[in-house]
Structure formats: C-alpha cells, structure tokens
Subunit: 218 residues, 4 copies
DNA sequence: AATGAATGAGGGTTCATTCAT
DNA sequence: CATGAATGAACCCTCATTCAT
C-alpha cells in the first residue's frame, strides 16, 4: 500500500525502519522547504539525507510520492494530536483554543513539514492528490465542526466557511513570518490568535458599518 | 501606428510597448500561478504568451526578472490604489476597512498576480529579492501604521506585529480557497474579514481565558 | 569586393570611414584575443566597439568576415612594412634579421591583431579561408626566399621548410609568454631570436650526433 | 568481464573504467582539435564518442573539466616519459636532445592531445586553470633546468628564459604545419630542431651584428 | 546610414528515473 | 537490501543573424 511506511507496526523491526524513514522525511522536508517541491531535485534530497539516489527510489518510488508521504505523515500527526487533546474539553471556545494551539505548536515544532504541507498544497497530482485531499478535508471539517458548535452556542458573526478559512489563513501564514528571535512561543501566539479570532467571530457585536449584512453565506 | 510621423503623445510608443508587456505579464502570471515559479518553464511562458522563447529574453532578460517584474508591478499597483483610496478617510477603523477591501478586491480582480506575489515570495534572489523586499516592507509598514492609529484610539488586544501578520495571513490565504461559484464578492468577504479582525483586535474585551496575558507586546 | 574596407582610398571621406572601421577592428581584435573567435559573441563585439549589433552586420556582413578583415589587414600590414624595410638591405643574414625584427616589432605593437592572426588560423572557412591562405602563403614564401638566399651563401643545416617553420614557431609563440614587465623590447628579443636562428641554421657546424644526417630535404 | 565474481586484479575494474575514459578522451581531443574548445559542443563530443550527452556529464562533470582532464593527462604523460628517458643521460646537450625528441615524438604520436594542450592553454578558468598551470610550470622548469646545465657547461648566447620559450615555440608550433605526407618522422625533425637550437644558443659565437649586446638578461 | 526588435537553432547543464548487479 | 552507472527529455539561456524602419 502506498501508506505502508506510515503505518505503525508494533514490531521493533518495522519501527526501526520507520525511524530511518522518518529521518529521511525530516531531511527531505527541509529541502522541500528551502527550495520548494519543484525546485528541489532528487539529488538535493539524496545529498541532504545521505542516501543514494537510487535508494530514494527504492524506498519511496518517486519524488512525488516522497512529498505525499511527508505531507500525509505531517497531516495525520496533527489530526491525531488534535483528537487526543480535544478529549475531555467540552466548552466550544475552549475547544477552538485547543485547536489553534495544537496547530501552531506543531507548526513551530515541525516547521518544515508544516510549511511543505501549506506551501505545496497543489504539487501532488491524480491519485496522491486525491488521497491527501481526503485527509485535508477531514481536518478542515474537524475545524468546521468546532466552529459549528460555537455557532450554536453564541452565534457567528460570519459564515462558518469564511470563519474557518480566515482562521486557517491566519495560522498557516505563520511560516512566512515567524522568527524565533523576535516572536513569542507557540502558546503565546496561539492565545493571541485565538483572542482575535474568537472575539472577532463570536464577540459582542459592535459593527460600525457593513457592506454585507448577510450572515451564513457559506 | 508607430510609423505615424506626427505623434501627439510622446509616450504613445512606450505606452504601447508597456501594453504589450502587460499582456505578457498576464499570461506569465497565469502560468506561474498554475505551475509555480520553479515548475513553470520559459517554454511554457513562451507558449502561453504567444511570444518566441528568445523574445521573452529580449524583453525580460531572465525568468527571474520576469517574476520580479510581475511581482513589482502587482505590488506597486496595490500600494498605489490603497494610497488613493485612503485619501479623505480619517477614521482608523474605516481606514483599515479600506485597506482590507483594497487588498481583497485587487486580489480577486488580479488573482494570478496576487497569488504569485503571495506564493512566490521567496523565489527571487540577491538584488531582485532586495528590491522587492523593500516594496513589501513599505506595504507592510503602511498596514502597521493603520494599526497603530487604531491602537492609539482604542487599544489593541495583541501586539501590532501579530495583528498585522494575522490580518495578512487571513487575506493572502484567500488564493488557496476562493471559489467564485461558491464565495461572495470581494466587498462581502472584505467586510467579513474586517469585522472579524476589528472586533478581534479592538473590540470589547471579554476574554475568558488566556495563556498569555501580556498585551501590546509589539 | 570583400576587401573594400581595406583599400586605401585617396578621398578623405573613405579615409575617415577607414579610420572608423580601424577602431572597430581594434576593439574586435581585443575581444577575439581575449575570448577566442568562437568564444566571442557578436554582442561582445558590439559592446566593446560601442556599435550596435545590427551596425556590425551593416559594416562587416558576418562575424566570420569581421575576423577575416582583421586578419587580412594585419597580415597585409606586416607584409607591406617588411617590403619597405627590406629595400636597400642586401646581405642575406641581415635581411633575415630585418624579417625577424619586423615580425616581432609588429607583433608587440599590435599584439591583439597578431595573436588573432596566429591563434585563429583555422577559424575561417571556404572562400574567406582561401583568400587569407593566399596572403599567408605569400608571406611564408617571402620568408622562404630569404632563407634560400642564405642557403646559397652559407648553406643551411636543415631543410628550408623546417628552418622557416621553426622560425615562425619561435616568433609566433611569443603571444603565449610575452610579458612587458619582464621581457625586453622587441628589438632585443628579435636580436636574440635572430642570433639563435642564424647561428642555428647557418653557423659553424659542430654537431655532436645526429639521428638524421640528411640535409636539404625541404 | 565485469561480472566475474573472482577478480584477481583488484584494480581491474578501475583499469577498465580508465580505459573507457581514455577512449572518450581520444574522441574528445579529436573534436576539440578540429573545432577548438569553444567551438566544440558537448553534443559534438557525445556524437564522436558514442556516449550519451548526460553520460559525459556523469563522467566528467563539465565541458571544462573534460578539457582539463585531457590536458592534464597529456601533460603528465609527457613529463613522465621525459623523466624516464632522461635517466642515465648526463651530457647536457644530449639531455636537451632527449627533451626535444620526447616532446616531438609524443606530439606526433598524440597530435590531438598535444594540440589541445598547446592551443587551448587559456581556455580553463579558476581552479582548474591553476592546477594545470602548476603542472605546466613544472614541465617548463624541467626544461629550464636542462638549459641551465648547458649554460654552466658551455654558456648561453641568450637568456635562459628566451632560449626556453623559443624552443617551446619552435616545437609547439608543429601542430600548425606538420604534414605526415611531406614531413619526416619525429626523430628527424627533433634532430633538426635540436641542431638549430643547440648550435643557436650554445654554438661557436660569430655574431656579426647585434642590436642588443646584452646577454643573459633572463 | 544605422538600429531596435525579433527569432530559430543550438549552447551547456540538470532532471527524474531506470536497471543490472 | 541498496546502489553505481547511465540516459532521454527538458531545463534556462545565448547564439548569429535578419528585417522593417
């Protein structure tokens, strides 16, 4: 299966194998991150990971599939962590704060993978694209679910769609500007963004003017 | 015609030339948009624009310089339009609404150029990168100025930096999701985002909890 | 005619034209000298000479013809100067000294042209090659004539052909090593080479061993 | 065969590889020889050698490096052969005869390589140029050493520098004129040139006139 | 008399990929 | 299990040259 390298096999052997692959992922993500998917060559990846060129093909089949595996691994990890963190949190606002914190924490902890996930969203084609899009959709709908909960509790100033996509934009854009020497840690940024977002979409209304009064267009 | 012996407008010639170049820009931006800068070949651009390959080099010198010119032209246009629109608007919140509307309107009107500006922010190197970064900085500081005005009037829930970058993220991310068949027009989306943002950063405070209490760190 | 630009026209107008062309020759020779004929582009020549690219074609027709004209001009000048200098000199050894001095003096005075003449001897093709070869042959036979005179007077240690070609090699190689900061002037080098050559081919015989006893094979 | 499981000679593999490379060298030298370094395209070399274009890059890295390897190989071979031949020869004049013979024999035996070495002396740049220049210098100083020995024994009519460079010119120029149908073999030409040179620089003095009396300026 | 505009052909080089071992 | 060797296709770019003006 195309997802084989990512399946958690309980045996130590496969685990060691996974570990080796994870190292290659890390190197590859760094290269994709720096040069972009199209701009990175398999030789770049080979050099960075210390594996032979043919070895990469032996393990991953193609450059595209390597990107796919990185993106899938990254995305599944975020989703998995989010699921765990959401357990036991029931307040809608709080759940959204958890969502934002989880996203940004992992973004800053695994900046390369997350940037590749954000920046190379259109690089995959055909089957691989479809498979990844399915997981993306899953994550997206998870977020939408959180927003809907909030909407039921407090109403939403804008459509769920606009709210969700604005939030993703706010968060994902971080790879273009985050500078560890200047910016606070993930928790702090997450709190700020959560404040902006929650207050923005669900706070007391005091809109001073509006070109479009309609809500819930999404 | 360029052979007309009596040209009234001395800039007519350059203007026509500029127009021809602008057409190539449009085609090139579309290709960069679809395939990415690195993934687009000069042959792709040649085919799309109907110009010969060598002709592109005659006009633009290099693939990188073509990207640069597209980005510069796009960015200068947004800045220029913003400056015009801000004239006569003095209310800080209103000025920010104008800023958001201007950005999104131009984004949706010239989606290719703006996506290239957003997505290929790191593609340029050396001198060209520096020159563009200078204009980017100008635009960024223009936004920061608007936020500082707001801050003086009403306070800001977060640092100006986080506020500004969150706003840019919210807006720029639009190229990843906007679908004219589903989404409203620019004015409506701009109003929504402005609502979220203004209410979020400067609205009535009712923060329920906060991991980072510090405000105004920017 | 292909040689038109080099014909000495008594009219001032053509003379001025010749002068302009001579300037271009000088620039072009410098470029050919530095980059080689094949390695120099017409754009290089255009830049160096300050003429437009199309202007070079207007004046010279092709890159090859420009090389041809430079070589022809250079070669004709050496021959012409040699003829003048040989007038009134009758001693065979002295005539050879004049030949060597003339060659080296012009070589160091017009190093670019002479290097191009030496180094790019095979660059021309077809008609232009033939026309230049004819002048080269003329110069070569002029040298051979001088050697034959010497041979009649004092005998020659080797064939005229080997003698002549060795002498040309000795002289033409100078472009690979002459360094004005280290080496003497043309007169001094010419005297040295003449000493070596004359003593070598026509001096007292005291050959200690010989793999080839046959003389006068040329 | 390369599939033999039991290779006796551990260097057999590298040796076969070297042999394959040497064949490519030969073809490439022939092409460089005919068209010049700048005038020869990698596609020309690919065609001539029967290797794929990409294969040439796999082996040699660049056109320049291919030239470098040819020149280095050729030059090292001449030097090596010379060292062997000089063993056991002690008479200064005889040693110079050996030097000339060695140079010309190898020149005519490997005309392509030696012409490329002579004619493309300035084609390399930067590091490769430096590395080759070092070997060239070694060979040059080897010649200078021979001349100095002669000078100590019999004196020299001219500076060592001029003597050495004149001799190199005489010899290297051979690629411009040698015609196997007309000219004698290497031994005969070498003897002639040795006669000219030795008699010229160290023979009985009977200089009849001199523009520059100074000797031993080098 | 002189040139800006334009291009087809080809330059050196790198690409993702395969395959025999 | 892993890789050195090899390549067809494509890369960005420059070439010598033409032609309308």
């Amino acid at each position: 299966m195309s997802s084989a390298p990512l399946q958690r096999d309980p045996s130590a052997r496969a685990s060691r194998r996974d570990q080796r692959l994870a190292e290659i992922f890390a190197h590859a993500a760094a290269v994709f991150c720096e040069k972009g998917y199209a701009g990175a060559s398999m030789r770049d990846l080979s050099r960075a990971s210390g594996k032979s060129l043919a070895g990469l093909y032996y393990y991953f089949g193609s450059k595209e599939r390597l990107l796919f595996l990185i993106q899938k691994h990254t995305l599944l990890t975020v989703v998995e962590r989010l699921r765990l963190r959401l357990e036991g949190v029931s307040d809608p606002q709080q759940r959204i704060r958890v969502f934002i914190l989880n996203h940004l924490e992992y973004f800053l902890a695994n900046q390369n993978g997350m940037k590749v996930l954000s920046h190379e969203a259109d690089a995959l084609k055909n089957e691989l694209a479809k498979e990844l899009a399915a997981i993306r959709r899953e994550y997206y709908h998870l977020a939408v679910g959180l927003l809907d909960d909030l909407k039921h509790e407090r109403g939403l100033r804008v459509s769920t769609r606009i709210a969700a996509l604005s939030l993703f934009g706010m968060m994902n854009w971080i790879y273009t500007w985050h500078n560890p020497k200047v910016d606070s840690d993930a928790a702090s940024i997450a709190a700020d963004m959560a404040d902006i977002f929650l207050q923005g979409v669900a706070g007391t209304r005091n809109r001073t003017n509006s070109g479009s009064g309609a809500e819930n267009r999404g």
